[in-house]
Protein backbone atom coordinates (compact mmCIF):
# COMPACT_ATOMS: atom_id res chain seq x y z
CA UNK A 1 0.00 0.00 0.00
CA UNK A 2 1.30 3.47 -0.83
CA UNK A 3 1.75 5.95 1.99
CA UNK A 4 -1.59 7.56 2.70
CA UNK A 5 -1.64 11.33 3.05
CA UNK A 6 -3.48 12.33 6.21
CA UNK A 7 -2.83 16.06 6.13
CA UNK A 8 -1.70 18.44 3.39
CA UNK A 9 0.02 21.79 3.91
CA UNK A 10 -3.24 23.75 4.14
CA UNK A 11 -4.83 21.44 6.66
CA UNK A 12 -1.64 21.38 8.71
CA UNK A 13 -1.52 25.17 8.72
CA UNK A 14 -5.14 25.39 9.90
CA UNK A 15 -4.40 22.99 12.74
CA UNK A 16 -1.29 24.92 13.82
CA UNK A 17 -3.32 28.13 13.89
CA UNK A 18 -6.03 26.48 15.97
CA UNK A 19 -3.46 25.09 18.43
CA UNK A 20 -1.80 28.48 18.81
CA UNK A 21 -5.19 30.14 19.54
CA UNK A 22 -5.95 27.45 22.12
CA UNK A 23 -2.59 28.16 23.76
CA UNK A 24 -3.25 31.91 23.84
CA UNK A 25 -6.72 31.32 25.28
CA UNK A 26 -5.32 29.32 28.19
CA UNK A 27 -2.00 31.02 28.80
CA UNK A 28 -2.62 34.74 28.08
CA UNK A 29 0.74 36.44 27.69
CA UNK A 30 2.84 33.34 28.53
CA UNK A 31 4.49 35.12 31.45
CA UNK A 32 4.21 31.95 33.53
CA UNK A 33 4.34 29.43 30.72
CA UNK A 34 7.28 27.95 28.83
CA UNK A 35 7.29 25.85 25.66
CA UNK A 36 9.59 22.82 25.47
CA UNK A 37 10.03 20.79 22.28
CA UNK A 38 11.04 17.17 22.76
CA UNK A 39 14.04 16.15 20.65
CA UNK A 40 14.42 15.17 17.89
CA UNK A 41 11.05 15.93 16.20
CA UNK A 42 9.35 18.26 18.68
CA UNK A 43 11.49 21.39 18.27
CA UNK A 44 10.30 22.09 14.71
CA UNK A 45 6.64 21.97 15.75
CA UNK A 46 7.43 24.10 18.82
CA UNK A 47 9.29 26.65 16.69
CA UNK A 48 6.37 26.84 14.23
CA UNK A 49 3.91 27.45 17.05
CA UNK A 50 6.17 30.13 18.49
CA UNK A 51 6.16 31.90 15.11
CA UNK A 52 2.34 31.93 15.18
CA UNK A 53 2.44 33.36 18.71
CA UNK A 54 4.93 35.97 17.56
CA UNK A 55 2.97 38.97 18.86
CA UNK A 56 4.74 38.18 22.04
CA UNK A 57 8.48 37.81 21.67
CA UNK A 58 9.25 37.09 25.30
CA UNK A 59 7.90 33.55 25.20
CA UNK A 60 10.49 31.07 26.42
CA UNK A 61 11.18 28.14 24.09
CA UNK A 62 13.52 25.29 24.97
CA UNK A 63 14.48 21.91 23.60
CA UNK A 64 14.74 18.80 25.72
CA UNK A 65 16.69 15.65 24.88
CA UNK A 66 15.28 12.53 26.52
CA UNK A 67 17.73 9.91 25.22
CA UNK A 68 19.36 9.12 28.56
CA UNK A 69 15.95 8.77 30.24
CA UNK A 70 14.40 6.29 27.83
CA UNK A 71 13.40 2.85 29.05
CA UNK A 72 14.35 1.02 25.83
CA UNK A 73 18.12 1.50 26.25
CA UNK A 74 19.81 -1.86 25.62
CA UNK A 75 16.61 -3.22 24.09
CA UNK A 76 17.58 -1.82 20.70
CA UNK A 77 20.29 -3.10 18.38
CA UNK A 78 21.89 0.31 18.13
CA UNK A 79 22.83 2.70 20.87
CA UNK A 80 20.42 5.58 21.15
CA UNK A 81 21.86 8.76 19.77
CA UNK A 82 21.44 11.88 21.83
CA UNK A 83 20.42 15.34 20.66
CA UNK A 84 21.04 18.73 22.19
CA UNK A 85 19.22 20.03 25.23
CA UNK A 86 18.90 23.79 25.46
CA UNK A 87 16.90 25.21 28.32
CA UNK A 88 18.28 28.63 29.15
CA UNK A 89 15.46 29.66 31.46
CA UNK A 90 14.10 28.57 34.82
CA UNK A 91 11.16 26.18 34.84
CA UNK A 92 10.70 26.26 38.62
CA UNK A 93 7.10 27.22 39.35
CA UNK A 94 6.22 27.66 35.67
CA UNK A 95 3.63 25.86 33.55
CA UNK A 96 5.55 23.71 31.11
CA UNK A 97 4.01 22.72 27.78
CA UNK A 98 5.77 19.68 26.35
CA UNK A 99 5.54 19.61 22.56
CA UNK A 100 6.05 16.60 20.30
CA UNK A 101 4.85 15.72 16.83
CA UNK A 102 3.38 12.24 17.35
CA UNK A 103 2.01 10.69 20.53
CA UNK A 104 2.17 6.91 20.16
CA UNK A 105 2.93 4.58 23.08
CA UNK A 106 3.47 7.42 25.53
CA UNK A 107 6.96 6.22 26.49
CA UNK A 108 8.78 9.27 25.14
CA UNK A 109 6.51 11.49 27.19
CA UNK A 110 7.19 9.40 30.29
CA UNK A 111 10.92 9.87 29.67
CA UNK A 112 10.38 13.61 29.16
CA UNK A 113 8.51 13.84 32.47
CA UNK A 114 11.55 12.26 34.13
CA UNK A 115 14.03 14.41 32.26
CA UNK A 116 12.28 17.65 33.11
CA UNK A 117 12.71 16.91 36.84
CA UNK A 118 16.44 17.52 36.43
CA UNK A 119 15.74 21.17 35.80
CA UNK A 120 13.43 21.92 38.70
CA UNK A 121 9.83 21.55 39.82
CA UNK A 122 7.36 23.09 37.41
CA UNK A 123 3.95 24.23 38.66
CA UNK A 124 2.30 21.97 36.13
CA UNK A 125 3.12 20.12 32.93
CA UNK A 126 0.85 19.96 29.89
CA UNK A 127 1.20 18.05 26.66
CA UNK A 128 0.67 19.25 23.11
CA UNK A 129 0.95 16.84 20.19
CA UNK A 130 0.13 17.29 16.53
CA UNK A 131 -0.90 13.66 16.01
CA UNK A 132 -2.50 11.48 18.65
CA UNK A 133 -2.36 7.81 17.66
CA UNK A 134 -5.12 6.73 19.99
CA UNK A 135 -5.69 3.04 20.82
CA UNK A 136 -1.91 2.37 20.83
CA UNK A 137 -0.99 3.80 24.21
CA UNK A 138 1.06 1.67 26.60
CA UNK A 139 0.97 4.18 29.45
CA UNK A 140 -1.81 6.34 30.93
CA UNK A 141 -0.80 9.55 29.12
CA UNK A 142 -3.16 11.82 27.14
CA UNK A 143 -2.53 15.14 25.38
CA UNK A 144 -4.00 18.41 26.64
CA UNK A 145 -3.82 19.93 23.16
CA UNK A 146 -4.10 17.73 20.11
CA UNK A 147 -3.96 18.43 16.38
CA UNK A 148 -5.82 15.41 15.12
CA UNK A 149 -6.50 11.92 16.31
CA UNK A 150 -5.42 9.09 14.02
CA UNK A 151 -6.53 5.50 14.21
CA UNK A 152 -3.60 3.33 13.21
CA UNK A 153 -2.29 -0.17 13.62
CA UNK A 154 0.91 -1.05 15.42
CA UNK A 155 2.72 -1.93 12.20
CA UNK A 156 1.94 1.46 10.68
CA UNK A 157 4.02 4.58 11.06
CA UNK A 158 2.94 8.21 11.10
CA UNK A 159 5.49 10.50 9.45
CA UNK A 160 5.26 14.25 9.90
CA UNK A 161 7.14 16.21 7.24
CA UNK A 162 8.21 19.82 7.75
CA UNK A 163 9.21 22.26 5.08
CA UNK A 164 12.45 23.04 6.96
CA UNK A 165 13.65 19.43 6.96
CA UNK A 166 11.72 17.45 4.40
CA UNK A 167 10.77 20.02 1.74
CA UNK A 168 7.02 20.04 2.38
CA UNK A 169 4.45 20.29 5.14
CA UNK A 170 2.46 17.07 5.26
CA UNK A 171 1.57 14.03 7.35
CA UNK A 172 1.60 10.49 5.98
CA UNK A 173 0.45 7.13 7.28
CA UNK A 174 3.00 4.54 6.15
CA UNK A 175 2.42 0.81 6.36
CA UNK A 176 5.47 -1.26 7.22
CA UNK A 177 5.79 -4.69 5.71
Amino acid sequence: MNPKKILNANELSTILHRLSYQLIEDHNDFSNTVLIGIQPRGPILATRLLQLLNDNDNINLGFLDITFFRDDFRRNEKSLKASTTSLDFVIEGKTVILIDDVLFTGRSIRAALDAIQSYGRPKSIQLLTLIDRRFSRELPIQPDYCGIQVDSRLNEKVKVNWNENDGEDSVYLIKNK
Binding site: F73, N76, L80, T85, S118, Y119
Partner: protein
Protein backbone atom coordinates in the same frame (compact mmCIF):
# COMPACT_ATOMS: atom_id res chain seq x y z
CA UNK B 1 27.28 5.37 12.90
CA UNK B 2 25.95 5.05 16.36
CA UNK B 3 27.73 1.99 17.63
CA UNK B 4 31.32 1.38 18.69
CA UNK B 5 33.27 -1.15 16.63
CA UNK B 6 34.55 -2.82 19.82
CA UNK B 7 32.95 -4.61 22.77
CA UNK B 8 35.65 -3.65 25.28
CA UNK B 9 37.83 -0.59 25.74
CA UNK B 10 41.26 -2.20 26.01
CA UNK B 11 43.35 0.41 24.28
CA UNK B 12 43.18 3.18 21.71
CA UNK B 13 45.01 0.85 19.33
CA UNK B 14 41.77 -1.09 18.79
CA UNK B 15 39.57 1.93 18.04
CA UNK B 16 38.98 3.59 14.68
CA UNK B 17 38.38 7.23 13.84
CA UNK B 18 34.58 6.77 13.87
CA UNK B 19 34.75 5.36 17.39
CA UNK B 20 36.75 8.37 18.58
CA UNK B 21 34.29 10.80 16.97
CA UNK B 22 31.30 8.94 18.43
CA UNK B 23 32.82 9.02 21.92
CA UNK B 24 33.57 12.76 21.64
CA UNK B 25 30.09 13.53 20.32
CA UNK B 26 28.45 11.53 23.13
CA UNK B 27 30.72 13.27 25.66
CA UNK B 28 29.37 16.64 24.52
CA UNK B 29 25.91 15.54 25.65
CA UNK B 30 27.15 14.15 28.94
CA UNK B 31 29.11 17.33 29.59
CA UNK B 32 25.81 19.19 29.35
CA UNK B 33 24.28 16.65 31.76
CA UNK B 34 26.98 17.05 34.43
CA UNK B 35 26.60 20.81 34.34
CA UNK B 36 22.91 20.56 35.24
CA UNK B 37 21.64 21.16 38.71
CA UNK B 38 20.66 17.50 38.92
CA UNK B 39 23.56 15.69 37.32
CA UNK B 40 22.14 12.21 37.16
CA UNK B 41 20.50 10.29 34.31
CA UNK B 42 18.97 6.81 34.61
CA UNK B 43 20.53 5.24 31.49
CA UNK B 44 22.54 2.49 33.22
CA UNK B 45 20.17 1.80 36.10
CA UNK B 46 20.16 -1.95 35.41
CA UNK B 47 23.94 -2.28 34.96
CA UNK B 48 26.38 -3.31 37.68
CA UNK B 49 30.00 -2.29 37.33
CA UNK B 50 33.01 -3.51 39.32
CA UNK B 51 36.00 -1.21 39.67
CA UNK B 52 39.07 -3.37 40.19
CA UNK B 53 42.10 -1.32 41.12
CA UNK B 54 45.23 -3.40 41.57
CA UNK B 55 47.30 -0.23 41.58
CA UNK B 56 46.95 3.13 43.33
CA UNK B 57 44.81 5.82 41.78
CA UNK B 58 42.87 8.88 42.89
CA UNK B 59 41.72 10.80 39.82
CA UNK B 60 40.88 7.86 37.59
CA UNK B 61 39.11 5.95 40.32
CA UNK B 62 37.01 8.88 41.49
CA UNK B 63 36.30 9.92 37.91
CA UNK B 64 35.10 6.44 36.93
CA UNK B 65 33.02 6.14 40.06
CA UNK B 66 31.38 9.53 39.58
CA UNK B 67 30.69 8.73 35.94
CA UNK B 68 29.07 5.44 36.94
CA UNK B 69 26.95 7.06 39.62
CA UNK B 70 25.80 9.82 37.29
CA UNK B 71 24.65 7.14 34.88
CA UNK B 72 22.79 5.45 37.78
CA UNK B 73 24.82 2.24 37.55
CA UNK B 74 25.37 0.09 40.61
CA UNK B 75 29.02 0.13 41.63
CA UNK B 76 31.28 -2.17 43.60
CA UNK B 77 34.82 -1.12 44.39
CA UNK B 78 37.76 -3.36 44.90
CA UNK B 79 41.35 -2.49 45.64
CA UNK B 80 44.09 -5.06 45.99
CA UNK B 81 45.19 -3.85 49.42
CA UNK B 82 43.68 -6.15 51.99
CA UNK B 83 42.05 -8.47 49.45
CA UNK B 84 42.50 -12.16 48.71
CA UNK B 85 45.06 -11.25 46.04
CA UNK B 86 47.60 -11.14 48.86
CA UNK B 87 46.56 -14.71 49.72
CA UNK B 88 47.68 -15.89 46.28
CA UNK B 89 44.52 -15.78 44.18
CA UNK B 90 45.04 -15.42 40.42
CA UNK B 91 43.64 -12.51 38.41
CA UNK B 92 41.18 -14.68 36.47
CA UNK B 93 39.91 -16.29 39.66
CA UNK B 94 39.45 -12.94 41.35
CA UNK B 95 37.52 -11.53 38.42
CA UNK B 96 35.43 -14.65 37.82
CA UNK B 97 34.44 -14.70 41.47
CA UNK B 98 33.28 -11.12 41.21
CA UNK B 99 31.47 -11.80 37.93
CA UNK B 100 29.59 -14.74 39.39
CA UNK B 101 27.92 -12.18 41.65
CA UNK B 102 26.27 -10.85 38.44
CA UNK B 103 28.45 -7.94 37.46
CA UNK B 104 28.03 -6.67 33.88
CA UNK B 105 31.11 -4.56 33.38
CA UNK B 106 34.64 -4.47 34.78
CA UNK B 107 36.88 -1.44 35.00
CA UNK B 108 40.41 -2.60 35.68
CA UNK B 109 43.71 -0.99 36.56
CA UNK B 110 46.63 -3.36 36.86
CA UNK B 111 50.43 -3.02 37.11
CA UNK B 112 51.02 -5.62 34.38
CA UNK B 113 50.88 -4.50 30.75
CA UNK B 114 48.24 -6.46 28.86
CA UNK B 115 46.20 -7.38 31.95
CA UNK B 116 42.97 -6.07 30.44
CA UNK B 117 43.51 -7.78 27.08
CA UNK B 118 44.24 -11.01 28.94
CA UNK B 119 41.04 -10.65 30.96
CA UNK B 120 38.91 -9.90 27.90
CA UNK B 121 40.04 -13.20 26.40
CA UNK B 122 39.46 -15.23 29.54
CA UNK B 123 36.37 -13.89 31.23
CA UNK B 124 32.89 -13.24 29.90
CA UNK B 125 32.32 -9.56 30.62
CA UNK B 126 32.79 -6.11 29.17
CA UNK B 127 36.28 -4.88 30.14
CA UNK B 128 37.39 -1.26 30.38
CA UNK B 129 41.09 -0.62 30.76
CA UNK B 130 41.83 2.07 33.35
CA UNK B 131 45.58 1.70 32.90
CA UNK B 132 47.63 -1.46 32.52
CA UNK B 133 51.24 -1.06 33.60
CA UNK B 134 53.30 0.83 31.06
CA UNK B 135 50.99 -0.15 28.19
CA UNK B 136 47.82 1.92 27.65
CA UNK B 137 45.47 4.26 29.51
CA UNK B 138 42.76 4.84 26.91
CA UNK B 139 40.28 7.02 28.81
CA UNK B 140 43.07 9.42 29.79
CA UNK B 141 44.12 9.81 26.16
CA UNK B 142 40.50 10.32 25.09
CA UNK B 143 39.97 13.07 27.61
CA UNK B 144 43.30 14.68 26.69
CA UNK B 145 42.36 14.87 23.02
CA UNK B 146 38.80 15.98 23.86
CA UNK B 147 40.01 18.78 26.15
CA UNK B 148 42.60 19.91 23.65
CA UNK B 149 40.17 20.08 20.74
CA UNK B 150 37.81 22.04 22.96
CA UNK B 151 40.53 24.70 23.10
CA UNK B 152 42.10 24.62 19.65
CA UNK B 153 39.48 22.90 17.46
CA UNK B 154 40.17 20.09 15.01
CA UNK B 155 43.43 18.32 15.77
CA UNK B 156 44.05 17.31 12.17
CA UNK B 157 47.50 18.60 11.15
CA UNK B 158 48.28 19.96 14.64
CA UNK B 159 51.60 19.30 16.32
CA UNK B 160 51.60 17.80 19.77
CA UNK B 161 54.59 17.32 22.02
CA UNK B 162 54.85 14.76 24.80
CA UNK B 163 57.64 15.40 27.29
CA UNK B 164 59.11 13.29 30.05
CA UNK B 165 59.14 9.65 31.01
CA UNK B 166 57.92 8.15 27.74
CA UNK B 167 59.41 4.77 28.61
CA UNK B 168 57.25 4.12 31.67
CA UNK B 169 54.17 6.09 30.67
CA UNK B 170 50.98 4.39 29.54
CA UNK B 171 49.52 7.82 28.91
CA UNK B 172 52.20 8.47 26.30
CA UNK B 173 51.38 5.40 24.22
CA UNK B 174 47.61 5.95 24.32
CA UNK B 175 48.18 9.63 23.52
CA UNK B 176 50.31 8.78 20.51
CA UNK B 177 47.65 6.43 19.09
CA UNK B 178 44.80 8.89 19.73
CA UNK B 179 46.48 11.95 18.24
CA UNK B 180 47.69 10.03 15.21
CA UNK B 181 44.21 8.65 14.53
CA UNK B 182 42.89 12.21 14.71
CA UNK B 183 45.50 13.31 12.16
CA UNK B 184 47.89 15.16 14.48
CA UNK B 185 51.67 14.87 14.41
CA UNK B 186 53.33 13.70 17.61
CA UNK B 187 56.82 14.49 18.86
CA UNK B 188 58.29 12.98 22.01
CA UNK B 189 60.99 14.62 24.07
CA UNK B 190 62.93 13.58 27.16
CA UNK B 191 66.23 12.13 28.32
CA UNK B 192 67.43 9.49 25.85
CA UNK B 193 67.30 6.89 28.61
CA UNK B 194 63.55 7.47 29.07
CA UNK B 195 62.63 7.23 25.38
CA UNK B 196 61.97 3.67 24.21
CA UNK B 197 64.21 2.35 21.45
CA UNK B 198 62.58 2.17 18.00
CA UNK B 199 59.73 4.50 19.05
CA UNK B 200 60.13 6.08 15.59
CA UNK B 201 58.48 2.96 14.19
CA UNK B 202 55.18 4.29 15.63
CA UNK B 203 55.55 7.29 13.34
CA UNK B 204 56.53 9.79 16.03
CA UNK B 205 59.47 12.19 15.90
CA UNK B 206 62.08 12.13 18.66
CA UNK B 207 63.57 15.43 19.74
CA UNK B 208 66.02 15.78 22.60
CA UNK B 209 66.22 19.58 22.53
CA UNK B 210 63.33 20.70 24.77
CA UNK B 211 63.24 24.36 23.66
CA UNK B 212 63.37 23.48 19.98
CA UNK B 213 60.56 20.94 20.42
CA UNK B 214 58.42 23.48 22.30
CA UNK B 215 58.85 26.05 19.55
CA UNK B 216 57.45 23.63 16.99
CA UNK B 217 54.33 22.45 18.83
CA UNK B 218 50.73 23.66 19.36
CA UNK B 219 50.30 21.83 22.65
CA UNK B 220 52.51 20.03 25.13
CA UNK B 221 51.68 17.17 27.48
CA UNK B 222 54.08 17.19 30.45
CA UNK B 223 54.44 13.72 31.95
CA UNK B 224 55.53 12.82 35.43
CA UNK B 225 58.70 10.86 36.16
CA UNK B 226 57.33 7.48 37.26
CA UNK B 227 59.80 6.73 40.03
CA UNK B 228 57.67 3.82 41.26
CA UNK B 229 58.32 1.94 38.00
CA UNK B 230 62.06 2.54 37.95
CA UNK B 231 64.34 -0.18 39.24
CA UNK B 232 67.52 1.61 38.18
CA UNK B 233 68.66 5.19 37.69
CA UNK B 234 67.76 6.74 34.34
CA UNK B 235 69.19 10.23 34.82
CA UNK B 236 71.84 11.69 37.14
CA UNK B 237 69.61 13.79 39.41
CA UNK B 238 66.17 15.35 39.61
CA UNK B 239 67.85 18.76 39.61
CA UNK B 240 69.51 18.03 36.31
CA UNK B 241 66.23 16.75 34.85
CA UNK B 242 64.46 19.95 35.89
CA UNK B 243 67.14 22.07 34.26
CA UNK B 244 66.82 20.20 30.98
CA UNK B 245 63.14 19.30 30.73
CA UNK B 246 61.26 21.29 33.40
CA UNK B 247 58.70 23.76 32.05
CA UNK B 248 58.75 27.20 33.68
CA UNK B 249 57.29 30.62 32.91
CA UNK B 250 60.60 31.93 31.60
CA UNK B 251 60.69 29.26 28.90
CA UNK B 252 57.04 29.87 28.01
CA UNK B 253 57.66 33.61 27.62
CA UNK B 254 60.61 32.98 25.33
CA UNK B 255 58.53 30.95 22.84
CA UNK B 256 57.27 32.50 19.62
CA UNK B 257 53.62 31.58 20.33
CA UNK B 258 51.19 30.59 23.08
CA UNK B 259 50.99 26.84 23.47
CA UNK B 260 48.46 24.77 25.42
CA UNK B 261 49.81 22.93 28.44
CA UNK B 262 48.41 19.60 29.56
CA UNK B 263 49.27 17.27 32.40
CA UNK B 264 47.62 13.94 33.17
CA UNK B 265 48.30 14.28 36.91
CA UNK B 266 49.49 13.74 39.53
CA UNK B 267 51.71 16.81 39.18
CA UNK B 268 55.12 16.95 40.78
CA UNK B 269 55.21 20.71 41.12
CA UNK B 270 58.68 22.10 40.60
CA UNK B 271 59.86 19.02 38.72
CA UNK B 272 58.32 18.65 35.26
CA UNK B 273 56.29 21.84 35.62
CA UNK B 274 56.43 24.85 37.94
CA UNK B 275 53.41 25.97 39.96
CA UNK B 276 53.23 29.22 38.03
CA UNK B 277 52.83 27.38 34.72
CA UNK B 278 50.49 24.72 36.08
CA UNK B 279 48.10 27.40 37.36
CA UNK B 280 48.35 29.67 34.30
CA UNK B 281 45.63 30.29 31.70
CA UNK B 282 47.54 28.30 29.12
CA UNK B 283 47.19 25.17 31.24
CA UNK B 284 44.03 23.09 30.75
CA UNK B 285 44.84 20.63 33.52
CA UNK B 286 41.58 21.12 35.42
CA UNK B 287 39.52 21.05 32.19
CA UNK B 288 41.07 17.64 31.59
CA UNK B 289 39.82 16.44 34.96
CA UNK B 290 36.32 17.82 34.38
CA UNK B 291 36.09 16.29 30.92
CA UNK B 292 37.30 12.97 32.31
CA UNK B 293 33.90 12.32 33.87
CA UNK B 294 32.03 13.12 30.64
CA UNK B 295 34.37 10.96 28.55
CA UNK B 296 34.02 8.01 30.93
CA UNK B 297 30.24 8.38 30.97
CA UNK B 298 30.25 8.30 27.17
CA UNK B 299 32.50 5.23 27.03
CA UNK B 300 30.42 3.28 29.53
CA UNK B 301 27.14 4.38 27.95
CA UNK B 302 28.25 3.28 24.50
CA UNK B 303 29.70 -0.03 25.73
CA UNK B 304 26.66 -0.79 27.90
CA UNK B 305 24.40 -0.56 24.86
CA UNK B 306 26.31 -3.57 23.51
CA UNK B 307 25.77 -5.76 26.59
CA UNK B 308 23.87 -8.99 25.87
Amino acid sequence: MSNLSVNHLLGIKYLNLNDLKLIFETSDHFKEVINRKIKKVPSLRDVTIANLFFENSTRTKISFELAQKRLSADVVNFSSNGSSVSKGETLIDTVNNILSMKVDMVVIRHPSPGASVFLSKNVDSCIINAGDGTHEHPTQALLDAYSLSERIGDLNGRKILIVGDILHSRVALSNIFTYQKLGAKVTVCGPKSLIPKHIESLGVTVETNFIKALNQCDAVNMLRIQNERMSETYFPSTREYVQQFGLNQQILDSLNKEIIIMHPGPINRGVEITSEVADSDQAIILDQVENGVAIRMAVMYLLASKLY
